[in-house]
Symmetry: D2
Subunit: 235 residues, 4 copies
């Protein structure tokens, strides 16, 4: 599945840079270049979600889809210290994470953000913590839902193997209210096996952070993820 | 007064870009260039506080002090959608606004932000709404305090003329607990007279947003502000 | 429709006391007594949502359903200044408002609150601002949804007459994902006509605040609302 | 030191009931009665801070000072789910905790709360996490400051013994800006020795939660605390 001209397509590896020092400033640019290399080598889409101040340099120098980690439900105006959707778009972002477990949002704001993003052709990846919240989010018709049990985030214990029922119940609950939305999963994904499991459960990709950002060789891990996706697609 | 090698010195015109469309993306860069021109022409320090994604391009192309509009009280790590002090510094910021009335913060977080900023040599401009809050903030030893009565922000009614007692009581209250901190004022500042009044009341500069960003000719207004500051200094 | 032994049944007039002085302390108790009288006189269910500290005295002295205005998504433990569901239940509440426009909540917290309330047999009335948010909330299976366009709250311009399409689109969107949930509407409801309109549009009652709390004679207004409901039911 | 007719005087044992099940509903009333007994027996002031819904029954049946755990910086009006200062006062509270580490507040809100409480003759106990925040809070002229290192809360490791320097540096920093405010300390206080240490360091009492609420015999522990205070006063 392709998302317009954004370069985003499924299956996808979406790398959340968080505020890790390995993904800050110059490091963020290098990591994005490694993602670009893994994407070219494998043919699998690798997207990155760097910190706000790193969106511009990455978008200018690297040819892969760049996501913001958050946008605010605002229009241009008097909003000091907020994230204006128009500004991250101008900086080169093609989409945004919404409601990550480290940046949980009010329900009315998720609705407003998805609406604002749609106006600007920004792709929305709404994060959720369980099947019920995933279904609620899915009624708002974002482009993607990424389910991540918060207790597994950053642990290296992969949701796709440790809690496959979270993924399958999410897919089931979401499909009752929304047949289109792309479903990703995340939390604890560290190797190709975890990725393969995620796709076998019915997702179209993974949202991943420390498993790649904090790896000794992020490029190698991204390539391993991508190869696992190719195999899963072929089978 | 000079702030190390940051280029920041008093008196100062600090322009908060907020999330105005006139100060987003390409417009932000052009506005920063106008600020640079006004600074060179007048010799008065003009700083800018653009949106996060605009810090990098402005820092690279414009030679004036760039501030973030906010930073979070965090260290590198798992903080999706947050503003890491190290990242805005890597992007070229020399300081940050803190606790703007449109981004009010918890007291413990202001303390933590000022501490983190000090570790990284980032200049802190803590905003406050009245004399009491200014004094409380001043005990935390930020570099600057900017008092802005929220009811005047964006009105064009200048605090320095409409509510001079807010400014003088702030200076009095702050000086009881902190003799060093630079005091600015803001809200409704739109012309050279307002700026002159602000300096006569004892401040070392102004924090200004719509008065410049939404002016027909921002460069001209910045120059008018700067000339008023030069006169006030000379007198 | 009856909600177990709670005394709650539809159609319902649910009076949100907010923090109005007319509904604080002794005034809250008197207002609740007027509600009880209107309920007895008309046979229509009138519920009240007083401030937390007024739940106990009202529950002890008045025989109508009492709701909290909010509960937190917490279990007993270390949570200073929070609203424990068990405590409002012990105080006599049979249910709670959730996500009122003056107390908007994170999506994950609405999910957790509805779950906690269900464990304790507390009736949940999740408030929403539009049809999309109503449907999202409805997937979480609360007992009731109350749609209130925030721009009409407190205006005296009744949603049921000024924006009937908000009510009808809410009913339509909610029914796609949840056939059971009771749907109320609110904002600007001030007389029997507004109530009749609300029921004709397909709701099972109204959530009302200033229209009753700030009325010269709240008892009379509640009676008028109740009589309008009886007529609407009969027709 | 006496605080008007509120019954509050120093030294004081202030018991935060939090949302512990041992201090919810009927249990809250019983715990307050035990506090009253310890207060009568020892002559030392014991105050309690129960959950909002328990303020009324406790105030009616127990003759010791009752505090709210939080109030909002609001006046009567449209504020669903908020804590109106007037309402907790009407329910019988004589004061309130402010900015507890489990309910951290914005600086401008702490200022507004202290001002509102003063208008209503409610005693304010502003909590803080370190010496710097204590001093900032002290400039706002609350009645009391309670310093509690968050990392020790609920641990049983007493601040007065494990981190005496937090207490002494707080007293030193606070006294530079405010000579009057009463200083308490808290976190990990579990026996008479901890209390004696707290008073020897220069505080006028303790803010305590689990050490009493979760004790097998809360009455006995409160009496032990009170006796330690009497000895410390005498020496």
């Amino acid at each position: 599945m392709w998302f317009g001209l954004s370069g985003v397509r499924t299956p996808i590896i979406l790398v959340n840079f968080k505020t890790y020092s390995e993904a800050t400033g110059e490091n963020a640019l290098n990591l994005a270049k490694a993602a670009e290399k893994a994407c070219r080598e494998s043919g699998i889409c690798v997207g990155v979600a760097p910190q706000f101040a790193d969106i511009t340099p990455i978008s200018r120098e690297v040819d892969i889809p760049v996501f913001a980690q958050h946008i605010d439900p605002i229009k241009p105006g008097s909003h000091t210290g907020h994230i204006l959707p128009e500004d991250v778009k101008a900086a080169g972002a093609v989409g945004t994470l919404v409601n990550h477990s480290e940046r949980r949002l009010k329900l009315a704001d998720i609705d407003a953000i998805v609406t604002r993003a749609r106006e600007l052709d920004l792709i929305t990846v709404v994060c959720s913590n369980n099947a019920a919240v995933s279904a609620a989010a899915a009624t708002l018709e974002p482009d993607m839902i990424a389910v991540e049990p918060p207790e597994l985030i950053g642990t290296g214990i992969p949701v796709s193997k440790a809690k496959p029922e979270v993924v399958t119940s999410t897919i089931e609950s979401v499909r009752k209210v929304n047949e289109q939305v792309v479903i990703l999963c995340g939390a604890g994904i560290t190797n190709g096996d975890d990725v393969a499991s995620a796709l076998k459960l019915g997702t179209k990709g993974v949202l991943v952070a420390s498993g790649i950002v904090k790896a000794k060789n992020p490029y190698k891990v991204m390539l391993e993820f991508a190869e696992a996706m190719k195999k899963a697609q072929a089978s």
